[in-house]
Amino acid sequence: MKPLSRRLLFLSTAIVTSLFAGVALQAQDKVPVSVLMIGYPDQDSTDAVTGVVSPGIGHLEEAFEAANPGIDLQIINIPWGEGATGYAPKTEAMIQGNEACLYEMPGAAAFARRGALVDLSKLIEADSSFVNLWGPALTTLRIWGPDNPQGLYFIPNNTGERVIHWDATLFDHYGVEPLSKNPTLDEIAEKAKLLTGTDPVTGEQTYGYYYQGKYAVWQFLSIAHAMGANWGSVGADGKMTIEWNTPTYLKALEWFVDMAKYAPEGALASDGMPQGFLSDDNVVAIIPEGEQGYFIQPLIANPDLQARYRSSFNLRGPDGVGGVSTISPLAMAASCENKDAAWTALKWLAGSADAERYYFESNGRIPTSSAGAEALPQIASFPDGDVVLTQPQFAEAPYPWAAAQPRWAMQTALEGALAGTLTPAQALEQAQAETDAWLAEQQ
């Protein structure tokens, strides 16, 4: 080898070695925190129809590390999947293998009962700089754990949302006072009745009320909660007690069946929002427990719609919260070795404007923290932007049976009551009997 080549080889080797050494030193300075995230795009992707770009998960990591240079956030992003390849068995395997510190964990309550999660309330107590950005949710979401019967084992990092939608144009046509920001059942009933009939301006048949037939159970539970009903509880051993057949639920079901008279006849067969919603053809005035996915993007894209399609807070119970919860819980594994750094990461991932913006831009998920307005000014500027961005903090605690037989038992009974094949009392009796049979089989 010639001397010049030898020198060049030496020089390049030295550069590469020092680069690697530098990177290694830099990584050594940082505290690693691994986090399991579910269902985010791995890479930037562009919607073929709208041209909207969904940012890849790397953007979240970059934003975090820019804000927290002392922590090396290692995101493990998995798809939701189904069955044996779904997120649930992967989460279980990762918990058992101590493979991550933080987990986006839909089944967090069950892991908490097993003692696999950290009670975050203790970290909050020890954290003098902690600011509650999640409002009442930090109280609502407390559940039983082996080290605390009222522990906080997860904080929601993003959510879907249910609000009460109402059509301001129909209210205007009938000369009915707009729906208030926190409507009561009485206000809804009174105005729904006034808004059912022939529209004085268009001559079209309009309906004061609406429910999604195939998901009526969620609206019913929201109504019942507003009347003070309580479905039951989960005991220290994880066993559930569920009480449907109570006077309060009966009163709620009678109210619901009565209000269904002011909804389109085909509502029982519907699995979405009414035909014509978000267009000039809408004929439905009030939609309690309406889904957010149907209106956020169209309202952002078409500001004219914002004045017509309004949102009010969901019905609230005596406890000050109300509406079904569709949160994504973020939890910390008890086996996490870097709990301080993980706590910093958890707070940032669940509460920062950057993180909330990422969840919305990548998956359309709504902020759960009070940083929502800063994260998404395009929503904050809606006439009801504050409702849209703060309703998630006032949602009920997730129902632990939401994907199990009690849901189907109640849903079927409701369908019978709404169709008139069962009386409300018979419907609740049927739901209770089927739920009891299921509960008896739970280990």
Partner: protein, 325 residues
Amino acid sequence: MTREPGSASFPAGSGYSTSEGPMRRAFSSLTRGVWVWYTFLLPPLLLILVFVGYPTLLAFRQSFYTRTPEGQVFAGTYHFERLLTNSIFWGALGNTILLGLAFLAIVIPLATIFASMLNRVRHGATPLKVIYFLPQLTSSVAIAIMFHYVFQPDWGLLNGGLRSIGLSEVPLWLADPRFNLTGSRAAVTVLAVWAGLGYFIIVTLAGLQSIPADLYDAAAIDGATPLQAWFTITLPSLRPTFIFLIMTGTIDALSRFGDLWTLGGPGGAPARSLQSIVMYMFQTGFESNDFSLSAATAVVFFLIVLGVTIIAFWGFLRKEFKAMK
């Protein structure tokens, strides 16, 4: 070339023949060329054993066990007792039978009439057959979504049409769980007939075309009218076709899932009026995670289908098989 004693290819009287010789020769002639076919049949057989046989055995086993945090615990016939005392199961079974009977009672006569007319068509029969058969090639989910738009009570195509001709009281179709001719069960029966008619027509047409023309000639000579010939020659001659359609149609009706699931969701909404036994099995297993009850349902379903097949065979087909012998 060395030959082994007893080889089937040894000539007779060569001195190597034993008492086994004729038997071996017979066996050899029987199996000659057969092994190659068994070799070809082996891969699909293995696939069936792995993906059908083994899961079936597992389902049978699971129906006698209960999953607990400590593992599987033998439960005897407990899950069958739960199943047979469960009103939801009986409701789903009743629905399945009712929807199946309604479907067959409509589709077979309709298919016979359409096939008889197609059989008479001189020009354009093939395009018509293709058109009638097209729904059979469409996914049941796509058909269900399409019929959701047809039967939606408020803005659906059918009620829109009824309103346009002046009817103000229109049926509720998919929002009505009652047992009536304008409810959800009627709607899904219309859907099933629309989707399955083409297949039934094609099979019936094949049956019609296998009837010897001599019979019709003889009937014409005897002075029979076309209608008399249809009743006395065509319908009796189609007996094997009808039996085939009833058997396969029954099994298809019992295993109905995709369209009902799409229209009624896991619970067969409204009020379980569209819940079939397979939907119940799926909901129990994959929505409520009660795999033992779901497996017990699968076993009972298997026995029902087996029973239907045996009854159909002994009741209807024995005569045909005897005639073939």
